[in-house]
């Protein structure tokens, strides 16, 4: 009995240590990426190319998801606000939810699943097929040539995708509440304009997506770079990217929201 409790505590401690070790390893890897990002301007065409793969090719899922999330928010908000006789404020609810929370968080979760996993798989396969070793033997550092462009592409793409997610969400909310449920169009837009603050809502939302972009891209490239060079290794790394990124996004969101709320008061 006593031995079982000790073993249980040991495994909890071991698990916690592994998580801390992994976070430390990702942070060190992020430091290495930044150290090898000096020539990123020279390699900017590569960043653009990766932005196409990570960002442009994620557009469909981001836009469609944004539209549906906005529609659902409009429907839910309308029903709740109607009972208080303030259904005209539904635009405010939709916009603030999307700008502050749902836009950055949901787009980051989608980005991690769509682009982050692809980044991990690509880098992991390059490692498994010795392409990274070949690059090293050609005196080209894979961190500078392969990892850094993908990392910066992710960092730059996510805020843009989050902005588009928010814009599509507002369009979805507008369609459901104004076009379908008959909320006054002028009230929808004017209340939204009055309530949404550029700095507190839009800029803070952008800061969140930027931080999520750094976290997701660092985790995705780290997992790919450190993946065991086997089929199982790459598949495991891809799974870890999605799970770790999702948890990191939610934890960072709580942290950032707490800081931002404190700033608002």
């Amino acid at each position: 009995m006593k031995g079982g409790i000790v073993r249980g505590l040991q495994s909890i401690g071991d698990g916690a240590l592994k998580i801390v070790e992994r976070i430390g390893a990702v942070v060190l890897f992020l430091g290495q990426i930044l150290m090898h990002s000096g020539a990123i301007l020279r390699r900017f065409p590569l960043v653009i190319r990766e932005m196409y793969f990570a960002g442009v090719q994620s557009l469909i899922i981001i836009l469609v998801s944004g539209l549906f999330v906005g529609m659902v928010l409009g429907l839910q908000g309308f029903e709740t606000l109607q009972s208080y006789g303030s259904s005209e404020s539904v635009g405010v609810l939709v916009a603030l939810s999307l700008m502050r929370e749902l836009g950055p968080v949901v787009s980051a979760l989608l980005f991690a699943s769509r682009a982050g996993s692809a980044m991990t798989a690509e880098i992991g396969l390059m490692k498994a097929t010795e392409q990274l070793s070949a690059m090293e033997m050609m005196a080209v550092n894979p961190l500078a040539r392969v990892v850094a462009p993908r990392f910066w592409a992710g960092v730059l793409s996510l805020p843009l995708l989050a902005a588009l997610f928010g814009a599509m969400g507002i369009m979805g909310g507008f369609f459901v509440t104004v076009v379908m449920l008959g909320v006054d169009s002028g009230a929808f837009w004017s209340q939204m304009q009055a309530a949404v603050d550029f700095h507190h809502d839009v800029v803070n939302g952008m800061i969140k997506s930027l931080v999520f972009g750094v976290a997701v891209s660092a985790i995705a490239t780290y997992e790919g770079y450190e993946a065991p060079p086997t089929a199982e290794g790459v598949s495991g790394a891809t799974t870890r990217t999605v799970v770790s990124s999702s948890l990191a996004i939610l934890a960072l969101d709580l942290l950032l929201t707490a800081f931002m709320m404190k700033g608002w008061n």
Partner: protein, 267 residues
């Protein structure tokens, strides 16, 4: 400096398992040397130590008069600009075309104009007979063609040292002969020094100047192809003539057969 690669008392292992135990080896400038041995005997590890991808636990690896173990990353990268390596399955960059693969190092390490890079790349591809596939992607090439493109890429900057990791694996007899001939011709034309890790005894004996045999982490035999053919050593004889019986056991060491199958021996 006549000795281009000098390895002295080299020891290396993965975790607790020793792979190389006291290797001494010299490759003269302009020479084409083969390192042979069974799978898992440490040949590729030895090649990676020469390329600075692994670090020796003990002993020294000198390439072009420079000790690799004491180099900084930037010094190692500077040396690697003078080294070309052909990987076992080519390791071509799958997101780049054949042309861009061969032009990769020129774009990364030189300030040559794009028209000059184009001419040089086509010359390299022409040397391996594949100028016609410059627009294809690596996935569209056969194994032999991919190996030849990788050879063109490995020699893109006219290296002083070329390392070949199992260049003959999985090739048909025609591709095998072509790759073998190219390795010899490129070595002589570039005035380079080459080290070849291979199992293919007959093909490599046709092209190399000197052979080292590695077994169980140590060099067990060495000599010119003629000396190797005439060697009385049972290990060399078994390896060169591909005999099943000899000093090299067919079975990997393990527990006794009776014990593994749970058989009882009646007294």
């Amino acid at each position: 400096m006549n000795d281009y690669v000098v390895i002295r008392d080299l020891n290396f292992g993965y975790s607790e398992r020793p792979v190389l135990k006291g290797i001494n080896l010299t490759v003269h400038k302009g020479g084409l040397v083969a390192i042979m041995g069974l799978s898992g005997c440490g040949k590729t590890t030895l090649l990676r130590l020469m390329g600075g991808q692994l670090q020796a636990r003990h002993g020294s690896v000198c390439v072009a008069g420079q000790e690799l173990n004491h180099m900084t990353e930037s010094q190692l990268y500077a040396l690697r600009r003078r080294v070309g390596m052909l990987f076992q399955f080519g390791a071509l960059f799958t997101d780049l075309s054949v042309f861009d693969n061969v032009a990769f190092q020129m774009r990364e390490h030189t300030d040559l104009s794009e028209s000059m890079i184009r001419d040089l790349t086509l010359m390299k591809l022409n040397a391996v007979g594949l100028r016609g596939v410059q627009g294809l992607m690596p996935a569209e090439l056969s194994g032999g063609m991919a190996r030849r493109v990788a050879l063109a890429r490995a020699t893109a900057l006219d290296p002083d040292l070329i390392l070949y990791d199992e260049p003959f694996t999985g090739l048909d007899p025609i591709s095998l002969g072509v790759i073998g001939r190219l390795i010899r011709e490129l070595n002589d034309a570039l005035g380079a020094t080459s080290v070849l890790v291979t199992h293919d005894v007959q093909e490599s004996m046709k092209i190399v100047d000197y052979i080292y045999f590695v077994s169980d982490g140590v060099i067990v035999a060495q000599g010119t192809p003629d000396e190797i053919r005439a060697s009385p050593l049972p290990f060399v004889h078994q390896f060169v003539w591909g005999e099943a019986d000899g000093p090299l056991p067919f079975h990997y060491p393990g527990v006794a057969l009776v014990e593994d199958f749970g058989l009882m021996v009646s007294s």
